[in-house]
């Protein structure tokens, strides 16, 4: 029998401790494929303050030991003058910013990731305070599956856009806890 693995064994940062990891809780209230507002653009009030522990924990979680993403002292002598986040660090930012409210459909249990597009304009560094503007981009049916894309612009504290993402998931047809399947 496979060893049981516990989420709690890996939680260490402040944000990881604060974040609700039960995606079933409140799932009935998540935005639905059928109901998304195609016109609204949401300027989120929640922010992600980037800390060294966030950057390091993410690098560890993707098995990347590049000193630029892990070692403050080594990164200071590097080309970026300090620690920077791995490009895919945009993922915990996205989930943190959409814990509640617009875009929370990304928490839908059973949703499948078909692929993503992300553009980068600036490095993300410790001390940056990121907020997002998100809204509907596209939704479609293909081979019996329901795809939904939101576009999100990520800004730092001086209102410079650091990244932009076109986030897409295939959403299941049911929202009941027992039947999140296709």
């Amino acid at each position: 029998m496979a060893e049981e693995v516990h989420i709690e064994d890996f939680i260490k940062t402040e944000k990881q401790k604060a974040f609700d990891h039960d995606f079933f809780k409140g799932a009935e209230s998540y935005e639905k494929w059928e109901d998304v507002d195609m016109d609204a653009m949401y300027d989120g009030r929640k922010t992600f303050e980037v800390k060294v522990e966030d950057i390091r924990a993410f690098s560890e979680g993707i098995l990347d030991d590049n000193p630029l993403f892990n070692d403050e002292a080594a990164a200071k002598d590097g080309p970026f003058g300090g620690l920077i986040a791995h490009p895919i660090f945009i993922t915990p930012i996205a989930f943190w910013l959409t814990e509640e409210g617009p875009g929370n459909w990304i928490r839908t249990p059973g949703a499948i990731n078909p692929g993503q597009i992300i553009e980068y304009y600036e490095q993300i560094r410790p001390g940056d305070v990121i907020h997002g503007k998100t809204g509907f981009y596209d939704k479609w049916l293909k081979r019996g599956k329901r795809y939904l894309t939101y576009v999100t612009e990520y800004y730092r504290q001086d209102d410079v856009m650091v990244a932009k993402g076109w986030g897409t998931l295939i959403l299941p047809t049911s929202t009941g806890e027992d039947t999140h399947k296709f």
């Binding site: 496979a2 060893e3 693995v5 516990h6 989420i7 064994d9 890996f10 939680i11 944000k15 990881q16 974040f19 990891h21 039960d22 995606f23 079933f24 924990a57 993410f58 560890e60 979680g61 993707i62 098995l63 990347d64 590049n66 630029l68 993403f69 590097g78 080309p79 970026f80 791995h86 490009p87 895919i88 993922t91 915990p92 989930f95 943190w96 928490r107 839908t108 249990p109 059973g110 949703a111 499948i112 990731n113 078909p114 692929g115 993503q116 597009i117 992300i118 553009e119 980068y120 304009y121 490095q123 039947t179 999140h180 399947k181």
Partner: protein
């Protein structure tokens, strides 16, 4: 390691592979790191109950595979000041606990532009231990001159 510059790159140049072994510990640690706790990744009991994707096992995050592929590029050029400006990915086949993923990259396009704006495109791929392609991606990378 020699810094990668725009002038040092040629078409079809192969980047060093990145190899990652995936098990449920890796998947769960990635869930915590990415704040993505979709039960398809972290709940083996639920995955079995719904017979997830016909095999009833959890699957790794697509974004984790994407991160592995991205690391092919960051390992190759970030120490010299390279900077990814665009990434796009497609996830083709589920990655499951027990898989070993090999990620590879090749320079497919070279875009000479004004100083400081030249970039290359890297075609990335990830396959599992049976040679099955699990994901593809493309990275646009600005390199120092």
């Amino acid at each position: 390691m020699t810094s990668v510059t725009f002038d040092s790159v040629i078409l079809d140049m192969k980047l060093p592979d990145v190899v990652r072994k995936v098990d449920q510990r890796v998947i769960t640690q990635n869930a915590v790191a990415s704040l993505d706790y979709n039960p398809i990744h972290v709940n083996p009991k639920w995955a079995k109950e719904v017979n997830l994707l016909g095999k009833g096992t959890t699957i790794a995050h697509g974004m984790c595979t994407f991160a592995f592929m991205t690391s092919v590029v960051t390992d190759w050029c970030y120490a010299g000041g390279g900077f990814i400006t665009r990434l796009e990915s497609k996830f083709i086949h589920p990655v499951r606990p027990g898989d070993t993923i090999t990620c590879s990259g090749v320079v497919s396009e070279i875009h000479p532009r004004k100083k400081g704006q030249s970039f290359v495109v890297i075609e990335l791929g990830a396959e599992n231990q049976t040679g099955t392609k699990v994901a593809v991606a493309k990275a646009r990378v600005r390199l120092p001159e």
